[in-house]
């Protein structure tokens, strides 16, 4: 189980909830669980079969690099943030 913080603009999809628990050992499984809880969630964060390039995911404060196959440790906190480079 991981704690997922819902991005502000997607809270309409979640009926206003700003966080939820989700099951999954990988980011892909987590996203599938989020889709079950809030239909329409997956298409906001997945593009061409993997994590959308304009979205980054932070697990326990660290931006991960493994896309949907990234392992998600139990009891971790997960955020979706815009993918930003600097000087880019």
């Amino acid at each position: 189980m991981a704690t997922i913080i819902i991005p502000a603009l997607l809270r309409k999809l979640t009926g206003g909830k700003d966080r939820t628990e989700a099951q999954g050992r990988t980011l892909g499984e987590i996203v599938n669980d989020l889709e079950r809880q809030f239909p329409g969630f997956r298409e906001r964060v997945v593009e061409d079969g993997d994590l959308s390039g304009s979205i980054a995911v932070s697990i326990d404060g660290e931006i991960i690099t493994g896309g949907l196959s990234e392992p998600v440790p139990p009891n971790s906190e997960l955020h979706f943030v815009p993918a930003i480079g600097g000087g880019i």
Binding site: I5, P7, A8, L9, L10, R11, K12, L13, D18, E47, D48, S52, G53, S54, S58, D60, G61, E62, I63, I64, T65, E77, H79, V81, P82, A83, I84, G85, G86, G87, I88
Partner: protein, 756 residues
């Protein structure tokens, strides 16, 4: 990862940079210095209008001019599918990128490329431009985000729809994206506040101001392979973008990095490269292109002007109870302002429960913006740090103390959500408070009004991909090859990291910045990432070389590699006390020991360490002319681990100077037709050395736990606080809050007159 608190022998010293002699003798080859036999020169015809439909283009007279070898327009380039696409690590919209390089149906800013001519001399190419006849239908220009967002606004891109909103709309719009971060209860937070301050801010578009204009030399060969020499921050980006725009195979384009004369984010995309490549294919000759200064200002990628509304509330004890900011950033002619990064960096130095940050990416008839050092952060910090300053005053708190009460530390949740790891913000506040500058009294200057202000800033820094190889030469020296163009001295830092691992002196390592055929994929030089990420790759590659050296020695001594240690450039056997060799001795015997030694590594590292800065500005204002002098400036920064302290200081000096120019003089001055009226260095007024004092730097090293050497990016955060620090100083000098950038003399005089 544990940071080795080892005593470094090379890291932290100040060797002379390896490319230094070439640069002080004029021998270094920048892009414009490159010449090939039979080379043609190409120039670009640019739209005189800010917004117009292109009805027809007649290039016949230009083509007939003796010396002209090819003329192209947007219709010659492939039509690309609409929509954002993943291109390696980048997300770009190739169709918009191609339209920016050469317009098809619409000119969207004054300076937008309409046609390109290749000729035997640059003068003939320029003459040919005058012979191209273009029929325009002029349209009303949209020149401010508020106008672009208003109901009934002229629409720039008919297919554009706002993304980011929960419901998809089919409404025509100039708003490309909406970003929001929110948590807690904003209303309750403001209710609980004893003081609330709200202001609106308006900042002008500004340019990175690199002294070297864009350039490209391209040679297309009959076998379909091509080479592009270019001053760029990202050779692999140039390769991928050219491949995509021209529909050529990526592997067929070799990009060779020339030395680069400044970038600051503005040379991370392409403008001339695809045109030069296309013209070279068309003419079967090498083609060289250089931009003029006017073209650089009008037709490359400045950073966004913005309109910002910021409201913050705090209790008497100094705790911030609510923070809200609404920001609209100019994207320029096509979507892609740095408003997202602005949203992620504003308020980041503070621990906040109740916040809402809204950012809007808005197209206007100005050049498409590109990254500029900590893109998006300076605009937002100007607003937030000014409001915080006024709040501190209302609560009778010292502004540094007010920041300390609310300061973020390890475990604090960032505005975007994730928690910070070990960071050094509080340390920067402490050092600023204890600085000689802050403790000194403000000097009196005859006839002038003086004031002191402070501000803080944040930048998250980037990781991304880098590759490196480290090979050992026969004399025990080493080569380090990376793919990171050197814009600030990074090749020296890479050499120093390799030297540290190998036990060599910095001058015994040769750093090479290689072309795209000679090194593995490496993302752009930018995002304050090179010392962190490329340095990480170099560290790993050097460790790999050390492992191979131990294996070679083991072979020679007929022992197991586990029984060989490498320390300070010496291999020795732990089981057999007598055997030991210097790296130099071993290097001479490699052929019989198993062969040459080359370590390589490729990384996409995590553990990026963000950076914080706190700055103090003393100003003196002439009340008659409004001219502002910077009397004294101190920049405090958490730098992680300063590999080469002189170049870390240099990054701070440079970022601060750009921030000062942004604060006081730099702006894109547009007339009502959307024509930039100050498109040269005389009137696009950047600081000269007469405008600046010595800039004092205080380097604090709070090691980044995510990196083996503790490195944090340092290059960008210095540009974030200066406009706010200077605005806060001006407030104390004048008694008026300036909320527009730049705070140029006419604005200062007007503010003083309105105050009376």
């Amino acid at each position: 990862m544990e940071v080795q608190e080892a005593k470094f022998k090379v890291i932290g010293t100040r060797p002379i940079r390896h490319d230094g002699v070439d640069k002080v003798t004029g021998r270094a080859r920048y892009g414009a210095d490159i010449s090939l036999p039979g080379m043609l020169h190409a120039k670009v015809l640019r739209s005189p209008h800010a917004h117009a439909r292109i009805k027809s283009i007649d290039t016949s007279a230009a083509q007939a001019l003796p010396g002209v070898k090819a003329v192209i327009t947007g219709n010659d380039l492939p039509d690309l599918a609409a929509g954002a696409q993943q291109m390696g690590e980048m997300v770009i919209n190739p169709r918009y990128l191609s339209l920016n390089i050469l317009a098809k149906d619409k000119a969207l800013y004054n300076g937008h490329a309409i046609a390109a001519v290749a000729a035997t001399s640059p003068h003939i190419a320029e003459e040919a431009l005058n012979l191209i006849k273009v029929e325009y239908e002029v349209l009303p220009p949209v020149l401010h985000v508020n106008k672009a967002m208003a109901a009934g606004a002229t629409i720039l891109l008919s297919e554009l729809r706002t993304s980011g909103e929960p419901e998809k709309s089919d409404q025509e719009t100039n708003v490309a994206t909406h970003v929001r971060f929110a948590r807690g209860d904003l209303e309750a937070g403001f209710k609980a506040a004893d003081a609330v301050v709200e202001h609106e801010f308006d900042t002008s578009m500004v340019h990175q101001g690199y002294i070297e204009p864009h350039n490209a030399v391209a040679q297309y060969n009959a076998d379909g392979h091509s080479t592009v020499w270019v001053s760029t921050q990202g050779t692999f980006s140039v390769r991928e973008l050219c491949a995509h725009i021209l529909q050529m195979p990526v592997g067929n384009i070799k990009v060779v990095p020339a030395e680069i004369g400044g970038g600051f984010g503005g040379k991370t995309t392409v403008y001339l490269e695809p045109l030069a490549l296309f013209l070279s294919k068309k003419t079967a000759k090498p083609v060289k292109m250089i931009m003029s200064r006017t073209e650089v200002l009008k037709a490359t990628g400045p950073t966004s002007g913005s309109f910002i509304r910021c409201k913050i509330g705090a209790k008497k004890d100094g705790t911030i109870t609510a923070a809200q900011i609404w920001m609209a950033y100019e994207a320029g002619a096509f979507p892609g302002s740095p408003v997202g990064a602005g949203c992620m960096t504003v308020f980041a130095p503070y621990a906040l429960e109740n916040l809402q940050i809204d950012g809007y990416d808005v197209v206007v008839n100005k050049p498409k913006t590109c990254a500029y050092r900590a893109p998006g952060a300076t605009n937002a910090a100007f607003a937030a740090e000014t409001v915080l300053d006024e709040l501190a005053e209302k609560l009778s708190l010292d502004p540094l103390e007010f920041r300390r009460i609310n300061g973020a530390k390890e475990g604090t949740a960032q505005p975007a959500g994730p928690q910070f790891r070990r960071i050094g913000f509080l340390e920067t506040l402490e050092a600023a408070k204890n600085s000689e500058h802050y403790k000194s009294s403000l000097p009196k200057v005859a006839g002038k009004l003086v004031g002191r202000g402070v501000a803080s800033g944040f930048w998250f820094n980037a990781g991304f991909q880098s590759s490196a190889t480290v090979s050992i030469n026969g004399d025990g020296t080493a080569n380090v090859v990376t793919g990171s163009p050197d814009i600030g001295g990074s090749r020296a830092s890479c050499a120093m990291i390799a030297a540290e691992v190998l036990g060599l002196k910095a001058e015994q390592v040769n750093p090479v910045v290689a072309d795209t055929d000679s090194i593995g994929h490496t993302d752009v030089t930018g995002g304050s990432r090179v010392t962190f990420a490329t340095g990480y790759a170099v560290y790993d590659a050097a460790q790999s070389a050390v492992k191979q050296l131990r294996e070679r020695a083991a072979t020679l001594w007929k022992v197991k590699p586990e029984d060989v240690v490498y320390q300070d450039g010496v291999v020795s056997c732990t089981t057999n006390g007598q055997e030991s060799m210097s790296l130099k001795q071993l290097a001479g015997r490699l052929a019989r020991a198993g062969g040459p030694v080359t370590g390589s590594a490729a990384v996409n590292p995590r553990g990026v360490g963000p950076a914080f800065a706190t700055q103090i500005a003393d100003v003196a204002v002439d009340p008659e002319t409004g001219k502002v002098d910077i009397l004294r400036f101190t920049a405090v920064q958490d730098v992680g681990k300063a590999v080469h302290p002189s170049y870390v200081e240099g990054q701070i000096h440079g970022g601060v100077s750009q921030g000062i120019g942004w604060a006081l003089n730099e702006e894109y001055y547009y007339d009502e037709n959307g024509i930039m009226r100050n498109s040269g260095f005389l009137d696009y007024r950047m600081p000269t050395c007469l405008d600046l004092p010595m800039i004092e730097t205080v380097l604090i090293e709070v090691a980044n736990p995510g990196h083996p050497i503790g490195i944090r990016g340092v290059g960008e955060v210095p540009i974030v606080p200066p406009p706010a620090a200077i605005a806060n100083a001006l407030y104390r000098a004048l008694g008026v809050r300036l909320t527009e950038l730049p705070m140029s003399p006419p604005k200062v005089v007007k503010a003083l007159m309105e105050k009376k």
